[in-house]
Amino acid sequence: MNKHIKILGMAAFAGAFSATAMADSLTVVSWGGAYTASQKSAYHDPWTKKTGDTIVNVDKAQAGLAGLRAQVEAGNVTWDLVDMLPSEAQIACDEGLVDIINHDQDLAASPDGVAPSKDFIAGSLSECFVPQIVYSNIIAFNTTMFSGKQPSTMKDVFDLKGFPGKRSLQKKPINNLEWALMADGVPTDKVYEMLRTEEGVNRAFAKLDTIKDNVIWWEEGAQPPQLLADKEVAFASGYNGRIFNAQVNEKQPFQIIWDAQVFEIDGWVVPKGKMSKVKAYLSFATDTQRLADQAKYISYGPARVSSAALVSTHATTGIDMKPHMPTYGPNFKTALHKNDEFWADHLDELTERFNAWLAR
């Protein structure tokens, strides 16, 4: 009996070893929460099924650039693929922390043969970056907090008299300064022009001053839906996918104000020296079908033109996803494209000013 157990144990041991020797393990860094869950369903699980590779999710994208820089400096890169915003991806690329991507060679063409460089949304590709989704920063509100008229514009968010209650905004200058100007009547195409001047920045802070005492500042993407659900705040800024997740999967009475949405692109970078290891996965995870599949789980628009036609209904509830996409016509009318170059240049000084303003 004992002998049998021993042999069985040894066989199992050997089996486990050979299994790990054959399949790879990929460490993928992303944003966590509903977003990582959508990536898992759309990319990771099909890939594991296809190849047997295990995929380890690390929710560290919030400090992705810091982590990359530390790992490359220490000469010990443990991440295989990192989800990043284009502004940070550009910095990582400039500093040589990530591999250069040859889009037409490394990625898959669309089913009808359009090369990746033509298939991804115009202007979204860059030297070291593969886009996945278009997402949007929006302000949402809890409909049960307002009995009469419901808010619908960015002006309403800054209107404490008409729509009383606390607001929750992200604790950084990005988006808030843009919103303040737009609520103050600046047209979308003049926002960044304005922010490049001292008067423009003053004007934005002056507008934020009007609601400052009623703001609770959030730092993690999971906080705003929570604060809204607890009725701790009436309005909260957030990523449209997280709010959608709360609306649909958790049946929360939230509504998104699409007016003055600030949209941008999110995608992958490959840490230095990891290209050969992740090439096959990267090509798979950014092909037309996979990007369209992700839109079944979260309301972020696919970054490939050829994926758009394949976007259908939500995986569990079966509702039509299209009206929930940031790029859907009526939602997109007053949308502002986040200016990465502006923020790469001025993030340091505006953050300093923002923090000083907060502490006052």
């Binding site: 400090a63 810091a66 910095i91 730092e219 607890d230 000013r353």
Partner: protein, 421 residues
Amino acid sequence: MTGLAATSGNDLTTADGVPLKVSLSRAQRRNKIKAVLLVAPLFLFLLVAFILPIFDMLLRSIDSAEVVTHMPNTVRAISTWNGEGVPEEAVFAAAAQDLAAGSRARTIGKVASRLNYEIGGMRSLIMKTARKAKKLESGPYKAALIGMDKRWAKTDVWQLIKRESGSYTLSYYLAAVDHKYAADGSIEAKPENLQIYVNLFFRTMWMSGLITLLALLLGYPVAFLLATLPMRQSNLLMILVLLPFWTSLLVRTTTWIAILQSQGVLNDLAVWAGLITDENRLQLIYNKTGTVIAMTHILLPFMVLPLYSVMKTIPPTYMRAARSLGATGFTAFRRVYFPQTLSGIGAGSILVFILSIGYYITPALVGGQSGRFITNFVAYHMQQSLNWGLAAAIGSLLLATVIVFYLLYNRLVGVDNMKLG
């Protein structure tokens, strides 16, 4: 014994004829080696995991090798420039060469990041020009660079490059105390709407002091009960003290959020009891109050445990003796008991104070905008802005402050009097 008797006098030897002095020192040396070997693992660990990182941090706060490493020709050429107007052609030629080379090697981004800390907009200036400079084949470079971006004709851009061309800089420390270099190289205070760190330093200090005081006021009676109650009750009480201590910090902090928030347990109770109206719920969290309450609770065991261990050693007979000699309860406590607990108060206070200066998770979660500590900015610059030099400078100043407090404490109370158990 016989050997000893035979050579009685000044030359003592052991049984086998070795002089006692030699034998003794040999044995002592063996003991010393043993002791060193026993200590060695801890010493090495401290060296690698503690002392070297601190040195590395101190170094990082003054290190500024980016410009000189990645733009060596420019640094050489600009050293003769007098700092007025715009440098001559040779400097522009060197810069164009360095920028092109840096862009090919993908190292120029480090220079761009470094210079952008000093003047916003330097990042795009450097990166854009570097990309274009690769295609530049011949001069005149001055006109070419200014043609690419007219900011190259500005004096302060070149003054910045010249100023940061050394291997070391003080600008991180200046930034950490809300100062900066003016264009002419003199030091000036930052404009008021950019000042932040000095105020935060003081706020961190006085809030830590307040937290220490509250922990002492709350912890002293608890420790007293623990030390004086019969074993069975005091054990139960001890578990009540230790249970939260063993609970995850994040759990304890988020519990406070659930209790204190304006739709939370405490406010609900107060509204239900009619103490406040529904519209005027108290804001107990996301401000200084939240930080003080949550941190006092979290750090309380660090006050209770040293106090308890000291109180445990005070014989109850002293108090009884004082009472029997006619002292009132309060006098006996003040003259006899309290002075004996001072060493515990000292140990607990310095522990709580130093720990609370270094805390950053709890203030980040419950502190809102007004209840944040300077440590939150160290974390911010480590993880978000990636300005590691500034993080290191703030960290070094914090370390210096803690050392000053420790020395002060040593002077006033004496570290030897500190009892941890």
